[in-house]
């Protein structure tokens, strides 16, 4: 019995796949979505448990999920099992590849920080004096950002700064700034640093995921079917036309091999999984850059100071002194007169009202506890997200000697940081220390260290877009230069990542690409 041929096959169910499904089905286009993992049942699959009832008392099973620093024993089962889906890397260059294959993917668990990229990122080559710019600018994506922000219900405060583009915000609800935050703001403004507030997707019911914001609309059209536990092995090609015509996949439980037919294939499996699939399929890489320009953000740096007026229990007795958060969008390398030993920039988050942690001191026992009590509630701390430079040599390739549990060759990741990242982090730590010193606060701890590549869970690149088919994989509509009915709508398409959480940009690009695809299909061009 010949099964039907769908209009579009979508691989992946996160924000990018969900958005593609929502837009394409709204145009009457029939879609089949394959997701590698199962659908989670939030009632059945989660149980309230005290930490002491866990087998490893909260430590987690040793050796499990060693690359997922965000994992703990409570959430260990939400992440991809690295023994089932392994990857390799140079031991000198560890990489943290953090994955979720449940239906909805990482959209189930993201932090909901929601920002637009600016033309400092889109036009990076001119701003940095090196590298490559996107083939689009903020003006091209702005209408789609606005629609995405409406769906996700993003709250934020408008500032009118070019490096921090304003969005289509719902009214924010920020508490009044504490005295310490007012001091931070005063000092930052004197230094030309803008101080704003976090921008967050409120979503619906506390969830801003593909499964509640995007897929229900698509399913309601009657034009979407979703298959869970479907692990795509290879995109298939009609040899007579060179066009893609579906995908081979295996059932996650039984490994039964199947093939689904579609007129168009949209990959939305997450940057590295989409690229892995294309590399394993041997497709769409006439440029030779597929797999290259892997990058993400540096997360780390920590500078903590204590406010003397709040120590020794006085914080609780002094309402309005401590508390709250300030958000500093990028303030470095915004103009050519700013001469630094690094390009690009970072954002800084400053939190007031926390305490010190035990690792900051050399004491123990009662002595340590006295110190922790003394500093409790009196601390102001700073941390950053910084933009890594996309480099050709940071790349992924197939490691044929390692396969996953379904026999599919694994990915090998090569990613190393350079002086630019370290200089950026040092600048951030020194800047925070200087701010806190100027405020009259006492430094307790300072580090300019940051996590390995991949930790941010914002890996992008490896199928970058561009106008030149010799130096890019996709055109400005996320369409393969080589195969016109093949699209990649997740973060693989990025040219630069910025310091910003990429979700709004991924969703906006997927929306734009899907609208373009729908139009092209109506015209018979695809």
């Amino acid at each position: 019995m010949t099964k039907k041929e769908y209009d579009v096959l979508i691989v992946g169910s996160g924000h990018s796949g969900g958005m593609a499904a929502k837009i394409l089905t709204s145009h009457g286009i029939s879609c089949i979505m394959l997701n590698a993992g199962p659908e989670a049942d939030m009632q059945r699959d989660r149980t309230q448990k005290p930490v002491y009832d866990l087998p490893y008392r909260g430590f987690g099973k040793p050796g499990r999920l060693t690359h997922v620093f965000q994992a703990n024993e409570f959430n260990a089962n939400q992440w991809v099992d690295e023994t089932e889906v392994p990857y390799t890397y140079d031991p000198q260059g560890p990489y943290n590849w953090v994955r979720v294959r449940l239906l909805g993917g990482r959209s189930l668990f993201w932090s909901r920080q929601s920002f637009r990229l600016s033309d400092f990122e889109f036009n990076a080559a001119e701003i940095d004096g090196s590298g490559t710019s996107w083939p689009i600018r903020l003006a091209d994506l702005a209408p789609f950002y606005s629609r995405v922000e409406e769906i996700f219900r993003v709250s934020g405060r408008k500032e009118g700064w070019p490096q921090f583009p304003d969005g289509n915000f719902i009214e924010p609800r920020y508490p009044a700034d504490s005295q310490t935050l007012k001091k931070v703001t005063e000092l930052c403004n004197a230094r030309g640093f803008g101080v704003s507030k976090m921008r967050t997707s409120q979503g619906v019911g506390g969830l801003a995921s593909s499964i509640n914001l995007l897929l229900p609309d698509a399913l309601a059209t009657g034009k979407l079917e979703i298959v869970q536990n479907a692990i795509v092995r290879e995109v298939s090609v009609d040899k007579s036309t060179g066009l893609v015509n579906g995908a081979h996949f295996v059932d996650r439980h039984s490994k039964r091999a199947m093939h689904v037919k579609a007129k168009v294939v949209v990959l939305a499996a997450g940057s590295l999984e989409s690229t892995r699939l294309l590399l394993n399929s041997g497709l769409a890489n006439s440029s030779g850059v597929m797999g290259h320009y892997l990058h993400d953000q540096i997360y780390g740096v920590n500078v903590t100071a204590s406010v003397s007026e709040a120590r020794d229990g006085k914080a609780a007795a002094t309402p309005g002194l401590m508390g709250g958060q300030a958000f500093l969008p990028r303030f470095r390398n915004l103009n050519k007169s700013d001469k630094r030993n690094f390009i690009k920039g970072y954002c800084m988050m400053i939190s007031s009202g926390g305490g010190a942690s035990a690792n900051m001191f050399a004491e123990y026992g009662e002595e340590l506890q006295k110190k922790l009590d003394y500093y409790a509630g009196s601390c102001v701390s700073a941390t950053i997200y910084g933009e890594r430079v996309p480099r050709f040599e940071n790349h992924v390739r197939i490691n044929k000697s390692v396969t996953d549990a379904w026999g599919i060759p694994a990915l090998h990741v090569e990613a190393h940081d350079s002086d630019n990242e370290h200089n950026q982090a040092k600048d951030a730590a020194d800047t925070a220390e200087e701010l806190f010193h100027a405020a009259g606060w006492d430094l307790i701890s300072k580090t300019d260290k940051f996590y390995p590549p991949g930790y941010s869970i914002h890996e992008v690149g490896t199928c970058r877009m561009g106008d030149n088919p010799k130096t890019s994989v996709l055109n400005k509509f996320n369409q393969s230069h080589d195969i016109k009915n093949l699209f990649v709508v997740d973060g693989a398409a990025f040219v630069t990542c910025g310091w910003q959480n990429p979700t709004m940009t991924i969703s906006a690009l997927s929306m734009r690409a899907s609208e373009y695809l729908a139009e092209q299909m109506k015209k018979g061009e695809v």
């Binding site: 993992g37 199962p38 989670a40 049942d41 059945r44 699959d45 989660r46 149980t47 309230q48 448990k49 005290p50 930490v51 002491y52 009832d53 866990l54 490893y56 008392r57 909260g58 430590f59 099973k61 040793p62 050796g63 620093f69 024993e73 409570f74 959430n75 260990a76 089962n77 939400q78 089932e84 449940l102 536990n229 996650r252 439980h253 039984s254 780390g300 920590n302 035990a358 690792n359 900051m360 001191f361 050399a362 004491e363 123990y364 026992g365 009662e366 506890q369 549990a405 701890s445 300072k446 580090t447 260290k449 996590y451």
Partner: protein, 212 residues
């Protein structure tokens, strides 16, 4: 398969199930009623399988943990260190009350080799220094003597993913953190001083790969 048939039988046709419970009596004897589930008073005969929920207890409530990984000298040093680093304070149980050393003996015992080596070498290192300075094992030192050994090994670690390069300082950093965590995550800690035990949402395995 056999178990599923049994359960289906129990639910659908209670009269037939007792063939597994009843004594080998004359076939004409009436079947015995299903037994009352233990620990569920009030549940009458014929409770459906899906309604049965038996009361069970944690092994930590009834049994002593057994230390099996470290040698006697290493474990004694770990107990001494645990009591020093996390004594009872502020009305909270200390590491020994929370059986933290026993728990860490288990945890390190199932950890990758590098963690095991770190701990073994670290505990041996404490004993070596104690014998050199005071001609006694670490576990036999008094508080001041212990302080003389461990104080130089305790350093601030601003970035916990980059431990100290000195192996003993690395061990001390790791052990300090582990002892504090094992104590604060214990049943004793979380049910003392008015705490109610709390809890968080735990993700069960979602549709685990079928091994049938």
């Amino acid at each position: 398969m056999k178990r599923r048939s049994f359960m289906t039988t129990l639910v659908a046709a209670p009269a037939a199930a007792p063939a597994l419970f009843a004594q080998q009596a004359a076939p004409a004897s009436p079947p015995a009623p299903p037994q009352q589930p233990l620990g569920a008073p009030g549940r009458g005969p014929g409770s459906a399988a899906q309604d049965i929920k038996l009361d069970v207890v944690s092994p930590d409530n009834v049994a002593e943990p057994e230390a099996r990984f470290f040698t006697a000298a290493q474990f004694a040093a770990l107990r001494k260190l645990s009591d020093l680093l996390m004594p009872p304070m502020r009305g909270n149980p200390g590491a020994l009350d929370a059986a933290a050393p026993e728990f860490l003996d288990f945890l390190v015992g199932v950890s990758p080799a590098d963690r095991q080596t770190l701990y073994r070498n670290g505990l041996d290192g404490l004993n070596t220094r104690a014998r050199k300075q005071f001609a006694k094992n670490f576990a036999d030192l008094d508080a001041a003597q212990c302080d003389a050994i461990i104080r130089p090994l305790l350093v601030p670690v601003p970035w916990t993913h980059e431990p100290p390069k000195d192996p003993l300082q690395h061990f001390m950093t790791a052990a300090h953190d582990d002892i504090r965590t094992a104590t604060r995550n214990s049943r004793e800690w979380n049910t003392s001083g008015g705490r109610r035990g709390g809890g968080q949402l735990f993700w069960n395995p979602v549709d685990p790969i079928y091994k049938g």
